[in-house]
Point group: C2
Chain length 106, copies 2
DNA sequence: TTGACATGCAGGAAAATACCTGCCTATAAA
DNA sequence: TTTATAGGCAGGTATTTTCCTGCATGTCAA
């Protein structure tokens, strides 16, 4: 998985909105997604392209339509690699902070 | 919490590297963080500023030094609000995909 | 107080991003 | 076969982002 592509894909509110829509109803066409997006079809296409490159969205062609499906796997991997790690850090946080502040007084 | 700031903060590999360093050793000064970052101090400052605005890093001044501490809370909130939601979606994914493909044949 | 050191602040250049318009291709339906 | 519809592709522009240089401020130690 490419961490960087996933994070960059999630950095844009429009792309997160697209993931939201697909979360509500999976397998939508480009046209359907455009209806609620307040930007040109071409821009939506570009955003979906980045989501697809980040492997967050998979597509299937059906005739002249293109269906878009969410892929939650990379998000879960990001969680496993990042959030979990920081959870460990959380335990030591207050301790570290307290220690540093005390060192100040000495 | 400001979702957008958190996601944007995580979008840059340099900032993720900074979080990594703080995860390994919490409470480092700006100077210490610069030693391993291969960019100017001013750039590191800017990155740390964005992390702080996203509430991913908290700082404490100690004399002429500035100590940086990780704050994992917003990351956990992002997980709760996003990854969990997509986990639900995962369950329906294969079902949806299968259904759409079958509709194609009819 | 003076010199050294840690950090802050102010632009400015270069690259990346997000949008757009205009046109082309492919499929479905009349 | 013609027409309408769904989507693809090629630029071009405005904004944002990233990184830099140069200089200012604040703190410690001699």
């Amino acid at each position: 998985m490419d961490d960087d592509k996933v994070f960059k894909a999630l950095a844009d509110p429009g792309r997160r909105a697209l993931l939201d829509r697909l979360c509500a109803r999976n397998g939508q066409t480009l046209g359907q997604l455009c209806e609620t997006m307040d930007m040109t079809r071409q821009s939506v296409t570009q955003h979906l392209g980045l989501l697809e490159q980040a492997n967050l969205v998979s597509t299937v062609r059906r005739g002249r339509e293109k269906l878009h499906f969410i892929n939650p796997v990379p998000l879960y991997e990001v969680y496993a690699r990042w959030i979990g790690k920081f959870e460990e850090a959380r335990l030591g946080l207050l301790h570290d902070l307290k220690q540093e502040l005390e060192r100040k007084d000495n």
